[in-house]
């Protein structure tokens, strides 16, 4: 189970210890980037250990102290619900950042393959060669706006809710899927022979389409588990 590996100190706790069981159950309920979930559990473990120490100092047994600390922190369901928004935002920001970073790695092959002749410079020629440019610009604008309104700039901008951030992520993934499918379809329809450059471009787009479907499904799953 995924939660066992996230709860990295589980083996250090006595078998059947309330804190280990609590963190296992909580870890199974958290949805979001793996690293963030592991950090959340490690942070809560430290807090639970502090609470346990306080109860031990008050004269409780080890088992009683852990049980009291767990009760003090609230049910795993309630705590998981409370963290759902932050983890959803973390997932959205990470997925969008990956799209922004890896976008050029896909686009460069199509640009090299379909670039307009040097004597036909200008925006119109570029749009004729790469007709999905408006989709790319829209995806970039959505990405920039979402990263800004969920990051440091949210002190000045209206803060995007976790639901809005997830929706923006799905939109960006959808735009990329649409762009990739369009490029592949246009290339296939052109009857241009499959050169190595074309194979790389199509393969890169296919990989991004698969990733996009995964991102949309994951965002929908996280959204469905919102409290």
């Amino acid at each position: 189970m995924a939660s066992h590996s996230l709860n990295d100190n589980a083996t250090a706790a006595p078998s059947g210890a309330p804190i280990a069981a609590y963190l296992d159950e909580l870890g199974a309920r958290l949805l979001g980037p793996r690293r963030r979930r592991a950090q959340t559990l490690a942070e809560l473990r430290d807090g639970l250990n502090h609470a346990t120490d306080q109860h031990l100092n008050a004269g409780m047994s080890a088992q009683q102290a852990q049980a009291a600390a767990v009760a003090q922190f609230g049910s795993p369901e309630a705590v998981a619900d409370a963290f759902a928004g932050e983890l959803a935002t973390a997932y959205a920001r990470r997925a969008i950042a990956l799209y922004v970073i890896t976008g050029p790695l896909v686009g460069i092959w199509w640009l090299l393959l379909l670039r307009p002749d040097p004597w036909r410079a200008g925006l119109i020629a570029l749009l004729a060669a790469i007709p999905v440019l408006p989709l790319i610009m829209l995806a970039l604008a959505t990405a920039g706006g979402t990263l800004a309104s969920t990051g440091r700039l949210m002190r000045w901008l209206p803060e995007a809710t976790p639901g809005q951030a997830l929706a923006a992520t799905a939109v960006i993934a959808g735009l990329c899927i649409g762009g990739d499918l369009t490029m592949i379809a246009l290339f296939m329809a052109s009857g241009t022979p499959m050169r190595p450059l074309a194979i790389i471009a199509v393969a890169a787009s296919m990989i991004r389409i698969a990733c996009g479907i995964t991102v949309i499904a994951r965002a929908a799953l996280i959204k469905a588990h919102f409290p």
């Binding site: 942070e43 807090g47 922190f73 963290f83 932050e86 969920t150 002190r155």
Partner: protein, 128 residues
């Protein structure tokens, strides 16, 4: 505030506050708790509780996600350290956090003066 009023306030029972009552003020409270120096999440919860004589006993699910959100906003930052074999995340104010706290204090001073004047039906303090 006169002696009789202080005595009246001291005699009042400390009522636990619901987290929703703190909406809009939690960020400032967390920044204020972190102002003296770095603290880990549980110490922040304890500082809120002890600093309010138990009135602000906020649940885990309120304090930790709020700290994460403040870090996302760049008002606080965190470092992981290992103390006594335990991994611990300590939060501290950033320069932006110090500035935001000063701003929040000024807003609160004005807001609390207005609300106190209205609720206690005291005269609005005359400006010099």
């Amino acid at each position: 505030m006169g002696d009789s009023e202080l005595t009246r306030l001291e005699a009042m029972p400390v009522l636990p506050m619901r987290p929703e009552l703190l909406k809009g003020h939690l960020d400032a409270l967390l920044l204020a708790v972190l102002e003296p120096g770095p603290q880990h999440g549980y110490a922040v919860m304890e500082a809120l509780r002890s600093g309010s004589d138990g009135a602000l006993e906020l649940p885990t699910g309120t304090v930790y996600p709020a700290l994460h959100r403040l870090e996302r906003a760049g008002l606080i930052a965190s470092n992981w350290e290992t103390v006594g074999g335990r991994r611990r995340r300590a939060y501290h104010l950033t320069a932006a956090g110090h500035a935001a706290l000063s701003e929040q204090r000024a807003i609160w001073d004005q807001f609390s003066t207005v609300v106190t004047a209205l609720l206690a039906r005291r005269p609005w303090p005359a400006t010099a």
